[in-house]
Amino acid sequence: MTEVANPEQMLFASTTQAFLDKEASLSHVRGLHDSDVAFHRDWWQRAAELGWASLLVPEELGGGSVSGDGVADLALVAEQIGHSVAPGPLHPVSTVLAGLVEAPDGHEAFIEALVSGESVASWAVYEPTRPFEPAQAGTTATPTASGYRIDGVKDRVEAGADSDAVLVVADCEGQLRQFLVPTDTPGVAVTPQKSVDMVKRYARVQFDGAEVEGTAAVGTAEQTPAIVERQRQIALVLQCAEIVGILDAVLSLTNQWLFDRHSFGRPLASYQALKHRAADMKMWFEASRATTAGAVAAVAKRSPDAEKLVSVAKAYVAERAPVMIQDCVQLHGGIGVTWEHDLHLYLRRVALYRAMFGSPEDHHRAVYALSGKTQPQEPKP
């Protein structure tokens, strides 16, 4: 997906990989699950020391990226995380930072705390029983003498119970706004929600007259729709890149299995019925890499196509990946549906991402709606 371009990026990639191998392997994921822990805060802080949370943040705010293309570097981390479906709040922290850096005034200290890994935050965008509609909010923000009063309920907030603050999307007198609300604010109640994933946890966050200062607002009403869209794009690019990493790992182990496993005196890899399935999956994998790379490049460049291309990538990757991994389960036979085999760790994460932040079906409709806006890309000679 992300073609590693320069020595700094190669060093960053190898440092990230070494850290993940040592401290976020599949057995770590199993261990966290057994002790009912999503991730350890000190572990996340060590990951942040490697620069994971600084990539979207400009240098003047204490961030920086190795290649100068923070979105591409972030996608590289997400892809590597996919190889071992590693834990941690990379997605929620990055999505919040993507919003904060667009309108950093008054939030500099919190940005710094997120970059250092000292604090964790998450995007409170979903509302109970509602689909992913980032530009709509039933939660309200009512202006008060000193700031705002927030009322309403958000849910499916990733790492909500482990977050120091949430970035809440709310309706303020008919306008879409976002507010950074510390989770220890009086009137805020956080209830954990389980997920199908081994380690990813979500939360329901209820706001009952939670009072915040005026400085809690992130961006003006005019800025907010574009900021929310930017956050949506970052969230989707992270999902796609991580799924590409997952597919890379699952296809490698499945192809190796086809070579190693023998039936009727010959390797499974020699059966044409199975070879053809492996060939299809190779094609779908390369197409997944291609469309994810297209989305990453468009978001990095803030291209006018980015809105459409993230939906194209999510629609394609999230439609194909679960089908491919289930087929890998089938190719493994009975071992593929055991707790002991690692396939389900990957399948869980992919099933989660398929649904979160818009299903393929939702994104098909989004692409349909946008298809008049920008011309389809010309095939390059």
């Binding site: 073609e3 060939a279 094609m283 390369e286 469309t291 349909y368 298809s371 390059k380």
Partner: protein, 420 residues
């Protein structure tokens, strides 16, 4: 206009070349809307007459055969010049049907394997717009097993005598010369007894017939050879080394299909039938634009089409940097087939009854979708089947074990064959 190509200096930069092309195109070539290309159906002789005429004009202007060597009638320039020309000529009518197979496959293969005389005569005639080259490969007895051809060429009294039949020859009715693969030695394994011949298609002993497809098109031909006589100079490459030549054809064909041949001039769809179905327009025409189910279906097809373009770019980028092997073009071939099937199926689903019954009024014309559906498999059959593509991907890209072949290493005259 003069009848000789303008002498092109290699000191001309790509930008200067593009600027000169821009000015010349505006003066000399008909303008078209690339989103609505003109009628140019391969089954019609008039399309070929028109293509030859346009090619002659390009040649007279000094913009033909950009990447072919100068000694064979080309300009001897590198791919960057061709790409610059492609960008300039997008809004002009180009002889696109000459790209495949004349330039990108046949001329490219002659350049690799042909004799000096074959290169001088045939390549330059094609570049001048005088001749069309075609391939005579598949046979009625088998499609995918190309090396198993049974058309025979026997050497007698200093001549080759050809007997047999070929089929699925693209546009052969319009061709002047064809590359014909024939068996010249039956006592050796199948790949070792083949020879490629360059055949004048108006020679006595050739009978040609059009194949009528389910959609009524008659683009493909079958040919019967009954004592066709060829001289020794008709051999391309060496006697019994025909498989090497055929392999070059297949190599050039894969590159051409992926849009990666420097010998193609001009890009874009050859005609409106080649354009993907307009799913949004179809949803609107049938009053279903607000139906979420239809939006999902149509959006899915739109997504696939964009992913196909992204895959083409990805493969084109990954082969030179080594992250994908050279035969990764097969991924594009297979993805194209899969996408075409989805696009056509989706169009038929949205069209509903109007795709199969001419309902008249605003819906008249939608039955074309139903007719197109009837031949949707052509993308998965032509140029090697999708099943062969999956073998190439798994065996040659991924290193999976090759299929067992009962004819491997066996003299061809001992290989079991089906009913003739």
């Amino acid at each position: 206009m003069t009848d000789t190509a303008i002498s092109t200096s290699t000191t001309e930069s790509v930008d200067e070349f593009a600027a000169r092309a821009r000015a010349w195109l505006a003066e000399n070539m008909p303008r078209v809307d690339p989103d609505n290309p003109p009628f140019s159906v391969r089954a019609e002789q008039e399309s070929w007459d028109r293509a030859k005429q346009l090619q002659k004009r390009l040649h007279e202007g000094g913009f033909a055969g950009i990447c072919f060597p100068r000694e064979y009638g080309g300009l001897g320039l590198d791919y960057a010049y061709q790409k610059a020309f492609d960008a300039e000529c997008r809004t002009y009518e180009m002889p696109l049907i000459l790209n495949v197979p004349t330039f990108t496959i046949c001329a490219a293969t002659l350049l690799d394997m042909g004799s000096e005389e074959q290169k001088r005569e045939r390549i330059s005639a094609a570049i001048r717009g005088d001749e069309i080259l075609v391939q005579l490969l598949s046979e009625p007895s088998g499609g995918s097993d190309l090396a198993g051809v049974i058309t025979r060429a026997d050497h007698k009294d200093g001549k080759w005598i050809v007997n047999g039949a070929k089929t699925w020859s693209t546009s052969a009715f319009a061709g002047d010369y064809g590359l014909l693969l024939a068996r010249t030695d039956w006592t050796v394994p199948k790949h070792e007894g083949l020879t490629m011949f360059l055949v004048p298609l108006d020679a006595p002993g050739i009978t040609m017939r059009r194949i009528k497809e389910v959609n009524g098109n008659e683009e493909f031909c079958e040919e019967f050879f009954d004592g066709l006589e060829l001289a020794d100079d008709a051999v391309v490459g060496e006697v019994n080394k025909g498989w090497e030549v055929a392999s070059r054809q297949l190599f050039h064909e894969r590159r051409a299909v992926g849009g990666g041949s420097e010998f193609a001039s001009g890009t874009g769809a050859e005609n409106a039938q080649e354009m993907p179905p307009d799913h949004v327009g179809l949803a609107e025409a049938t009053g279903q634009a607000d139906d979420p189910r239809i939006q999902d279906l149509a959006g899915r097809a739109l997504v696939r089409r964009l992913v196909k373009e992204q895959l083409i770019e990805h493969v084109a980028r990954s082969i030179p940097n080594g992250s994908l092997p050279p035969n990764a073009g097969t991924l594009i071939r297979l993805f194209h087939a899969e996408t075409t099937e989805l696009e056509v199926d989706t169009a038929l689903a949205i069209a509903g009854t109007a795709g199969v019954v001419d309902e008249g009024g605003d819906l008249s014309g939608l039955m074309e979708i139903g007719v197109r559906y009837l031949s949707r498999q052509t993308g998965s059959l032509g140029g090697g089947t999708s099943e062969m593509a999956r073998n190439v991907i798994s065996e040659r890209m991924m290193g999976f074990p090759r299929e067992p072949a009962a004819d491997r290493g066996v003299p061809f005259n001992q290989v079991k064959r089906g009913r003739q």
